[in-house]
Point group: C2
Chain length 422, copies 2
Amino acid sequence: MAKKNAFYAQSGGVTAVINASACGVIETARKNKDQIGKVYAGRNGIIGALTEDLIDTSKESARTIAALRHTPSGAFGSCRYKMKSLVDNRREYERLIEVFAAHNIGYFFYNGGGDSADTCLKVSQLSKATGYPIQAIHVPKTVDNDLPITDNCPGFGSVAKYIALSTKEASFDVASMCKTSTKVFVLEVMGRHAGWIAAAGGLASTEDCDLPVIILFPEVNFNQTKFLAQVKAKVKKYGYVSIVVSEGVHDRSGKFLADAGTTDSFGHAQLGGVAPVIANMVRAKLGYKYHWAVADYLQRAARHISSKSDVEQAYAVGEAAVKLALQGKNSVMPTIVRTSNSPYRWKIGEAKLSKVANVEKMMPKNFISKNGFGITKKCREYLEPLIRGEDYPPYGKDGLPKYVQPKNVGVKKKLKDFKVKL
Amino acid sequence: MAKKNAFYAQSGGVTAVINASACGVIETARKNKDQIGKVYAGRNGIIGALTEDLIDTSKESARTIAALRHTPSGAFGSCRYKMKSLVDNRREYERLIEVFAAHNIGYFFYNGGGDSADTCLKVSQLSKATGYPIQAIHVPKTVDNDLPITDNCPGFGSVAKYIALSTKEASFDVASMCKTSTKVFVLEVMGRHAGWIAAAGGLASTEDCDLPVIILFPEVNFNQTKFLAQVKAKVKKYGYVSIVVSEGVHDRSGKFLADAGTTDSFGHAQLGGVAPVIANMVRAKLGYKYHWAVADYLQRAARHISSKSDVEQAYAVGEAAVKLALQGKNSVMPTIVRTSNSPYRWKIGEAKLSKVANVEKMMPKNFISKNGFGITKKCREYLEPLIRGEDYPPYGKDGLPKYVQPKNVGVKKKLKDFKVKL
């Protein structure tokens, strides 16, 4: 049998290390040229497959591919596009097979979170359903850390490091100012459904460096009275406090605090942002001067301070995906298995996609402290190894990291146009 | 004459490198023990002097003092407190002299920006006015980069590096997402009066790495029509755009865009934040999906990615301040003198405080591009050396920088209490 080409695509919100996974996939495929042909990347994720907009990664130098390891974002473009079920949109799946067949693609590597795992599962079933041989391997990625089975998700550790570090740095700043000025600092972080990222703010305070940090989790219904009592107590004891608030914090009725019905003088509704809501509440009720920050994309793009564990694991799952494919596997996802906590050790495992798709891993209840505003020892033991180590990118004379922009040369189309409804 | 002790205080908003200046002052004083006694730090800045709340830095180990070089924030506490004129508040100046006399203080090192330079100037005049010998040396510090005479201000370079780098990282992120999702990213940065920090966002785009960045300067009256045309043009060409907006952006009438009259459903007015105002405007008028971030304290506390030039200069002005004192100087400030741009070379100079106090250095007009939304080559040549080089702090096993918290042991009070109206 002639050797098959591979298809690789990035899906959903990008991270500081998803390109490290791409690097792992491409470098490992290149090492196995006797068994795998070219690696075609989907331009803008799965849309690139549907529209036959493929990038020929063989046109990129070894140096460029190596540089992906230290480049944040999705180098080939990502997309937010969830394919419907086979029943609801059979035509899209048929189109995928047409594109795969036209370009002799036998391996499908899909790099994403929960929704992508579901798409990958469906693609893995095409082989049986259509008779066209395709092996679909999911490469885990999500800053939300909510994929099941795997101990943690590549992308999360670097965000966690950024948030822990930023909370520490800002806390030092507020501590300096609190005598006459700012007493409360509010940092809004990502995590609409799960508090994994917010929890990382709790790492800022350690035995060696005691800092007052309050965390507002989406898992804990917001209670203004209890919250303000916490703020008051911390300010009384320390002179200041840092509050790390998840964008997904909501009250008992499920209403997001960020959707506080804000309007501006231009008449535009819903500015969003829970940090200013919390900050304003503190000032109105307790009179403390505040500052607030919204990290937004900065947190997930901050490759300059990625955790070493995270970079290594992101690369490893990319590498493992190709190896699984070469072993003839289909419908699986490489996982990270924690074999020891102290010292931290991990290895690559394997999960069936049917067990991964549509399962969301929530924070264990015993990771949140009893009062609901902090993390437990157990949570710290879980999180700390994930933010350990630095993996600095190289810097140029311009004082900035040398992030790479691949040429992204397109592959000549062989099929008729296909419209995707975005 | 018995050797005199020194007083050192941090003033105004702190920075990632103001402690590097403290380190320079204290280490240099320790090297000159034959001429300088102890270095007393004001707890919470000048308030510490007025209330006789002094910290005995001789109680800190050489290791702790050395670690100040890589610790952000103000280790002894800062304050926002501007002393009035001698005429308006003679009693406060008399009190300073009483405290200096009680603790045998002959050197006054004041580490701050424009307002502090003014206070330092007044203190320098006390010697003549009161007959008590005091030498007052100002140590420059401000992220606003608005002190005159000195080529640049310690603290600014690190913020500039953080903003340039964050703009680059976020731009890569948006570029990945823009096909199906976010097309516009808005980053709000500090700089109420001058656009120095916003200008740093322009460094993200270089010859090697072309990125679409629009800057909104406080120096340029905001014009919605022109702005939206810029956004539209960039999105058309690149598929996305990053907008770096100074908190001080205002319209022709001087009204801040951040003061857009926002209210939330709790009934609290003025949340502040210009980033959401800009983002919302873009969506309302052009329909693009957006994300926005507010860097706030994160930008000035980000010691983890301080520029090497900045750290070296911050240390150097602290060191130079002590040397100037030992030369018998009074009422001066060490400055940074750029002697060559390519290669970048600088040395320490000296300015009279009377020339520094109450003079604000604005961005030169030829630093802003003709259309008002970018920086010129001249600006780039000025800024780039200031963000060059990395100076990483050491990290602990917890994955976080090892920032130091000095013991800050108080000096026994000798005088009666003195109330300061905060």
